[in-house]
Symmetry: C2
Subunit: 514 residues, 2 copies
């Protein structure tokens, strides 16, 4: 078997049977090997940011890695921004990058680049295969690295001659290591903090925001009056009226500071230090005030769910009834505001839906207004690198073909990776994309005002305004084979959104918001 | 003045008055500074690959750098593939990348990345500004680096607090250094080779492919029977029936090897070593056979034009008549084949046109079939990183608003940076884009066959075929505010192409080729 076959067979042997791909000439032996492997589902992206973002969405929902297939340094470069988001989401990805033949690199052909150096800033782990006999082991090591708890972006560079040369072999990968246990003394310390009764927030992330973790955290919250927070953007949150609700830390610096000012204790449960998304003159970088005690229950690589359970077991079960028994939301009527869309999405979301949320400014109230919706999962822009919404939805839909995916997508950000719509059409994925069409980088208008700059002139306006001409998302979607409709009222939105859920395949709604 | 003002004032002082931009929050002080500078033309790209590719196209035609403005590590990452092409084109670019405030980096906010490490593989020169008082000097150094002959990608990282802090200053930049002279003994050696009368090719690149260099080279060729070749892909070639013609080295390895096999001497004039674009099993990496002598007249950083002139002066002027007095081409009729498009483009190209060529497989005969067209410049995909055609055309049109730009664009490659069409509409640029719609990565089909793999199955076909669904380029263009038409015959093509030249602003032709 040649090197390419050993790469593909090692993937299959480890249970990786989806490959998001945008290959080039140097990957042809790998393409031929994929072609010889009928159990492998190859999903073409027409741009590499779609490939890596889809691999992230797949991993978050499948809870296992997909493989990618990218072309040399520049092809990898096009996928880096969404690898950044995946790395921040702690998603496992087996990121395979083809390269020139080993002996060809020294000739400095036009596409030559230092692929390892390109991969390094946005990978947790990087390796270059050196020969056909060793590339099977390299692939196994890459998969093992990707599977390190809770998940890593592991990049394997495969030179063309390594792929096309015979003499390769396959080995089984080691079982994924369990997350590290949290020491008892840490758990005891957290319990004693919680027993003070002082104002306390738990910031949940990783496995803590899925159902089992949330239920343990909820028991703690009910017994101690601690609040349950999420990070500003979260990799995946299990949500719906049957589940306890977590409140993400707000994105705007002033709101974030005031949201956290009330606490004497902030306890991190798999979460990063709460910090300002960006720095602002005269504002702190850390969101935790000096008179607040910051404690870590569990790092991301520790067993956050077991730690939460151990803490919860220290408290009596104070309630079994769901909290906030609010009525199901009802769809909005009238003006098509961002909040109207939130109310309607919350009311109409089908059971088991997956929401890919890159709504940004238009979605500030989305999380709270959809908290009593039917059970669903919510995926967000973990790394702040815009252009993940459409790819994330695409990958989630590949992972969960029987669940409807709703992509809530800001228009400016959608333009970074619109090519994902074509993959949705090619794969007949059940994705409803809602474009918040405000024809602006609305977030930048706010940020410029935050700098005290309220009356932008021509140059600044030109860089924040997406008008002249307005984007036409119905045309764009149709151009990539996706049916679409423009709506301007809440009633229209409700009708078109409902219809999209009733039909198989992708659909796009251009929501002209006011 | 704050740091941002000193950056922008230093750009203006050095004659850089175009900024291709896709800014984010950390660049708001720079946006405000640009806003205070009315002479600065800010051109928004909706994706960073458009920004960097346009800066490349601008530099190739304006023969001076534009600035870019990009957002943090991931924003820079999205622009890297076209920086790769620019670096290979030796285009000067002042690549400005905002970043988190210096003190904020340690907090590892979501968008944090090692921006210098991201820039390094695709920049010739990288520097991070450390403080407001020094950023003016850093900017001047960056411009000086970009202006190093023949041109470099110079990246300046500007942390947000460096931009917003007062106490900055401006200095004038040093005049651009002249290219190094070629030593007399090198010129003498080349003259003696040429006087042998043995089969010889000059491979021209850089300034050697513009009119003065071509005329000197032509004098040499006429006097010695040496052939004039170009690289596979060339940064900019002056062309038309009034000028000597150069023949690019073919892309396919077999054709490239046989094209060069006839020579006893290959002389590089600003060109790189002729090498295979990719490695293939059993094929050499170097295109130069062992019994051919490879000699360098001038490196890219040397004065290639003066060197050619000095060589030409050693030979008598053997002819003043233009060679190949062929008739003007006439537009094609009948089937809309790639060659029909080439003939029609050659016949209809307006005087002074600029061609941005990313036609790939569809354009293999373009160069020869358009050699007798009206005077024009021809720009190509120098680095092999597809997705530069539309951005390159955009930047060239900004540089030369009074010349028509023709973008000859393969469909698969167009999908990497289609967002450039919106910038063409926003800026009302005179660009006619011709999409070669074959709904395939045709180049990959050939490359797979080159590996002896002629009957691809489902997985391989899925990765080379852009159908199911076909892309609709009229819809895509309309979605970004660009008028468009689909044509299926040569006559239709001629009519629509002619009409596009007669009207201001961008237009797209989806050429369904057979």
């Amino acid at each position: 078997m040649n090197g390419a076959d050993s790469v593909v067979k090692t993937l299959m042997l480890s249970g990786i049977d989806v490959c998001f791909a945008n290959p080039g000439t140097s990957e042809m032996a790998l393409v031929a090997a994929l072609d010889r492997t009928p159990g492998m589902h190859c999903v073409l992206g027409l741009f590499e940011g779609v490939v890596t973002g889809a691999a992230d969405g797949y991993a978050r929902m499948a809870e296992k890695p997909a493989a990618t297939l990218l072309h040399c340094g520049p092809g990898l470069a096009n996928g880096l921004a969404n690898l950044h988001n995946a790395k921040r989401a702690k998603s496992p990805i087996v990121n395979i990058v083809g390269d020139h033949a080993t002996y060809h690199k020294a000739f400095n052909a036009p596409l030559t680049a230092d692929v390892e150096a390109v991969a390094q800033p946005f990978s947790n782990w990087v390796r270059t295969a050196r020969s056909a006999p060793t590339v099977g082991n390299d692939t196994a090591l890459t998969i093992e690295a990707a599977n390190s708890w809770p998940g890593q972006v592991a990049t394997l560079v495969v030179p063309a001659d390594v792929a096309w040369t015979d003499g390769a072999s396959v080995r089984e990968i080691a079982p994924a290591a369990a997350p590290n246990p949290v020491p008892d003394k840490t758990i005891d310390r957290i319990i004693s903090i919680l027993k003070t009764g002082e104002p306390t927030a738990l910031v949940l992330a990783g496995a803590a925001t899925l159902e089992p973790g949330l239920r343990h955290a909820d028991k703690v919250a009910k017994a101690t009056s601690a609040h349950l927070l999420g990070q500003v953007f979260n990799a995946r949150v299990s949500r719906g009226k049957h589940l306890p609700h977590i409140t993400p830390i707000p994105y705007p610096i002033d709101k974030a500071l005031s949201a956290l000012a009330q606490y004497k204790h902030i306890i991190l449960v798999g979460a990063d230090l709460p910090v300002a998304f960006f720095a602002y003159p005269g504002q702190p970088s850390s969101l935790v005030s000096e008179d607040c005690e910051l404690t870590v229950l569990a790092d991301a690589n520790e067993n956050v769910v077991a730690a939460l359970e151990a803490v919860a077991n220290a408290f009596a079960d104070t309630s079994t009834a769901p909290d906030d028994p609010q009525p199901m939301p009802t769809p909005a009527t009238g003006d098509l505001t961002p909040d109207a869309i939130a109310l309607s999405v919350g009311a109409l979301l089908p059971d088991g839906a997956i929401v890919a949320d890159e709504s940004l400014t238009s979605g500030r109230n989305l999380f709270s207004l959809t908290r009593n919706a039917a059970p669903h999962d919510w995926l967000q822009l973990t790394g702040g690198a815009i252009g993940i919404g459409i790819p994330l939805a695409t990958g989630a839909a590949v992972a969960c073909p029987n669940r409807r995916v709703i992509c809530l997508q800001a228009d400016g950000s959608a333009m970074y990776t619109p090519q994902g719509l074509w993959t949705q059409a090619r794969e007949k994925l059940n994705v409803t994309t809602v474009i918040y069409a405000n024809n602006a980088y609305a977030i930048l208008r706010q940020e410029l005002a935050n700098l005290g700059f309220n009356n932008p002139g021509r140059n600044a306006s030109d860089m924040m305004d997406l008008g002249r001409p307005n984007l036409d998302w119905v045309h764009l979607a149709n151009g990539m084979g996706v049916d679409a409709r423009r709506v301007t009222t809440a009633e229209d939105f409700n009708n078109v959104f409902r219809a999209s859920l009733a039909n198989d395949g992708p659909f796009l709604i251009e929501a002209v918001i006011c």
